[in-house]
C-alpha cells in the first residue's frame, strides 16, 4: 500500500499527540489536578492511529475506558479533552463525563465507556443504523483483550455477523486486563481465533507496527464498507504503564517483558522508519515532537482557564425536553 510522505508524517504526528497528551494527563492526575481514573494509551498509539487513518470523517468509532488515543486519532481536540479531564464546562461532555465517558458525536466518536465491552453492542447498533439509513459509513469498535470475555462482546459480534453489519471489531491485546495477565483470563492465545465462532475474518496484527495496522484496517474497512460484513482485528500491543495512571505498584511486571516492549515502542519504530526512508530527518522529527509538546502545553493552559460548569448543570441533560 502506498502511503504518501505527508501522510506518514501526519500519522507520526498523531501518535506523538496521543503520547504527549497522555503523559501529561498522567501527571495531572498524579498532581490531583485531574480527578477520577485516567487510563493511559501509551504504547498502543499505532492502533488508534492506524485504524482511524483508514476511516472517513463521517465514520464512527466506539471507545473504551482507555480512550484518549481513540479520540485524538478520530479528530478529537486535545483542548476540549483536557477541559473535560479538568471538569470544565467547555470539556466535550461539559464536565459531566470525565475521562471514561469522553465523546464527540459530531466527530463520529460515540464515546468512551466505563463498562468493559459495553461499546460492542452500541457499535453494532450504530453500524446497523448505517445499513438502515443506507449510507456507506462504517463503525469501528475498539476494545481490550479482557473485554472479549464479556458476554456483550460475543452477542454483538454474532449479531453483527448475521446482519453483515459494517463494523470492525478492533481488539487491543495489551497483555493485561487490570492486573491480570491475558493468559489467565482468555482461553485462546490469539483472540483473532474467536472470529471463527462467528464465521468472520480474524487477523492477528503487530499492534506496534503502524503500517501493519493501517494496512489490515484498510482492508477490513473496505470490506465493511462494501457490504462484506464485520471483521475482527487483533492488535498485539503492550500497556506501557499501569492499569490506571503510571504506577499503582499493585502489579509487578517482569522488567524483561517491559524492556522487550519498550524497545518496540510504536512511535520509535515509526519514527525510525521515516528517518530510514528519508521522509523525515532526525532534526525534523525532534522539531515535530517539540511542536506537539507545545500544542499539548497550550491545550492544558487553555483548558485550565476554562470556566467551571454552572452548579445547576447537575440537573440538566437528564431528559430531552420537547422542543418548545
Amino acid at each position: 500500500m502506498e502511503i504518501t510522505n505527508e501522510h506518514m508524517v501526519r500519522m507520526l504526528t498523531q501518535m506523538l499527540r496521543i503520547r504527549e497528551f497522555d503523559e501529561r494527563a498522567a501527571r495531572l492526575m498524579e498532581q490531583a489536578r485531574v480527578k477520577g481514573s485516567v487510563h493511559l494509551y501509551c504504547g498502543e498509539e499505532a492502533i488508534g492511529v492506524g485504524v482511524c487513518e483508514s476511516l472517513r470523517a463521517d465514520d464512527y468509532i466506539t471507545s473504551t475506558h482507555r480512550g484518549h488515543g481513540h479520540l485524538i486519532a478520530k479528530g478529537g481536540d486535545p483542548k476540549r479533552m483536557y477541559a473535560e479531564l479538568f471538569a470544565k464546562a467547555s470539556g466535550y461532555n461539559g464536565g459531566k463525563g470525565g475521562s471514561m465517558h469522553l465523546a464527540a458525536l459530531d466527530l463520529g466518536i460515540i464515546g468512551a465507556n466505563g463498562i468493559v465491552a459495553a461499546g460492542a453492542p452500541i457499535a453494532l447498533g450504530v453500524a446497523f443504523a448505517s445499513q438502515y439509513q443506507d449510507n456507506d459509513r462504517v463503525t469501528v469498535c475498539f476494545f481490550g483483550d479482557g473485554a472479549t470475555n464479556e458476554g456483550a462482546f460475543h452477542e454483538a459480534v454474532n449479531m453483527a455477523a448475521i446482519l453483515k453489519a459494517p463494523v470492525i471489531f478492533v481488539c487491543e491485546n495489551n497483555g493485561y486486563g487490570e492486573w491480570s495477565p491475558t493468559a489467565t483470563q482468555t482461553s485462546v492465545a490469539d483472540i483473532a481465533d474467536r472470529a471463527a465462532a462467528y464465521g468472520i475474518p480474524g487477523v492477528v496484527i503487530d499492534g506496534m507496527d503502524l503500517a501493519a495496522v493501517y494496512e489490515a484496517a484498510g482492508e477490513a474497512v473496505a470490506r465493511a464498507r462494501s457490504g462484506g460484513g464485520p471483521s475482527l482485528l487483533e492488535c498485539k500491543t503492550y500497556r506501557f504503564y499501569d492499569h490506571v495512571g503510571r504506577d499503582f505498584g499493585v502489579l509487578q511486571r517482569d522488567p524483561e517483558e517491559i524492556a522487550y516492549w519498550r524497545a518496540r515502542d510504536p512511535i520509535l519504530l515509526w519514527r525510525n522508519r521515516l528517518e530510514e526512508l528519508g521522509v523525515l530527518s532526525s532534526t525534523d522529527a525532534d522539531a515535530l515532537h517539540a511542536s506537539v509538546v507545545g500544542e499539548m502545553e497550550a491545550a492544558i493552559a487553555w483548558a485550565d482557564a476554562q470556566p467551571d460548569p454552572h452548579p445547576d448543570a447537575l440537573f440538566t441533560d437528564v431528559y430531552t425536553e420537547p422542543a418548545a
Binding site: G97, P121, I122, V126, A129, A152, E155
Partner: protein
C-alpha cells in the same frame, strides 16, 4: 373508534408510528412472527426484515442495537419478550441508554422504547412472571409506563415512540386480552399524567396495570356499601404525576396503593412515602399498600392464586384503615 384488545392497540400504535416515521423500527426475538404475545402480528409482512428486525437470543446485543441506532438518529423499539429477561440487558438499559445523554453533557438524544411483558400469567412460574418496574423508576434518565387498558396503551405507546427519551413500556400480561374502545387514528396521550379512572370522596386507590381493574371492581363493590372510592391510574410510573394523586388524597383523606409487583420496595413504597409526606396533614388513616408477598412466584395454580394481589387484598386494606369492618 372500535373495540380492541390491548394487544391489538399496542400493535396498532407500533404500526401507525412505523408508517408515520421511517426512522422507527422494531428489534426483538421472534418479532418476525409477531412476538410471543402477538404485539407485532402482521408487521413483518408489511415492513419486512429491514424494519422488523428478528434478532438472535441476545438481549444485551439487541438492546445495544437500540442504543447505538438511536445515538445516530433512528427511533428504535426494542422488545424484551418477558420482563424477567431484562436481567441480561440491564447494562445497556441502565448504564448506557439511561445515562448516555447526561454523561455526554447533552450531546446524545436517545429516542428508544423498550417494550416488555410483565407479571403473572397462568403458571409461568418464577422466571417468567416478574414485575420489575420499580427498578427502572429508580434510574434517572428513563421514563416508565404501565398502561392498564387498550386505550391508554395505544396513546401512551404512541407518545413513547414520539418521545425523545428512553422509555420502558410495560404491558401487564393480564391486561393484554382486555379490551375497550380505542380510536383507530393515531393519538398520543401525555406522558407523566395520571388519570382518575373513577371519582370518589372517601378513599383514593392508586393502582397500576391489572390492579386498576381490580380497584375499579372494589370501588363498585364498596359503592354498594355507601363508600365512594376514587381510583387513580398513574399510567406513567416515572415521572410520577404526584399532583393528581395528592389532589385526590387531600380530598379523600385516605389512600391505598396497589400493584402486582412484590410489595417491598415496589413503586407503591415511593407513592405511599410521598403521599404520607406531602399530604401528611390531610390523612385520616395510614396509607396502605397492596402488592405481592415477599416470595418468588410459585408454579402451582393454587399457590399462584394465593400469591397474586387483587380484589381481596385491596378489600383487606380497606378494612385495615377502618372504612369497612
Amino acid at each position: 373508534m372500535s373495540v380492541k384488545t390491548m394487544t391489538a392497540a399496542v400493535n396498532e400504535a407500533i404500526d401507525q408510528e412505523m408508517a408515520r416515521d421511517e426512522r422507527v423500527f422494531v428489534a426483538g426475538e421472534d418479532v418476525r412472527v409477531g412476538g410471543p404475545f402477538g404485539t407485532e402480528a402482521g408487521l413483518h409482512a408489511k415492513y419486512g426484515d429491514k424494519r422488523i428486525v428478528n434478532t438472535a437470543i441476545s438481549e444485551l446485543a439487541l438492546t445495544g442495537i437500540g442504543v447505538g441506532a438511536a445515538a445516530v438518529g433512528l427511533r428504535p423499539i426494542i422488545e424484551i419478550m418477558i420482563m424477567d429477561f431484562v436481567t441480561v440487558a440491564m447494562d445497556q438499559i441502565v448504564n448506557q441508554m439511561a445515562k448516555m445523554k447526561y454523561m455526554l453533557g447533552g450531546q446524545a438524544t436517545l429516542p428508544i422504547v423498550v417494550t416488555t411483558h410483565a407479571g403473572v400469567d397462568s403458571s409461568s412460574a418464577a422466571q417468567h412472571s416478574g414485575s420489575l418496574e420499580a427498578w427502572f423508576c429508580h434510574v434517572p434518565g428513563l421514563k416508565v409506563l404501565m398502561p392498564s387498558n387498550a386505550y391508554d396503551a395505544k396513546g401512551l405507546l404512541t407518545a413513547a415512540i414520539r418521545d425523545d427519551n428512553p422509555v420502558i413500556f410495560i404491558s401487564n400480561k393480564r391486561c393484554l386480552q382486555t379490551s375497550c374502545e380505542v380510536p383507530d387514528e393515531p393519538f398520543a396521550l401525555p406522558l407523566g399524567v395520571a388519570e382518575v379512572k373513577r371519582e370518589g370522596r372517601d378513599l383514593t386507590i392508586v393502582a397500576t396495570g391489572r390492579l386498576v381493574i381490580d380497584a375499579l371492581d372494589v370501588a363498585e363493590t364498596l359503592a354498594g356499601q355507601g363508600i365512594s372510592v376514587e381510583v387513580i391510574d398513574p399510567r406513567t410510573l416515572s415521572p410520577l404525576d404526584m399532583d393528581t394523586i395528592l389532589a385526590s388524597v387531600r380530598k379523600t383523606s385516605r389512600a391505598i396503593v396497589a400493584h402486582e409487583a412484590v410489595r417491598t420496595c415496589g413503586i407503591g413504597a415511593e407513592i405511599a412515602a410521598r403521599i404520607s409526606d406531602e399530604a401528611f396533614d390531610y390523612l385520616d388513616a395510614p396509607v396502605k399498600r397492596v402488592g405481592a408477598p415477599f416470595t418468588p412466584v410459585p408454579f402451582a395454580p393454587l399457590l399462584e392464586d394465593r400469591y397474586l394481589p387483587g380484589k381481596a387484598q385491596i378489600l383487606d386494606a380497606v378494612r385495615e384503615i377502618g372504612l369497612t369492618t
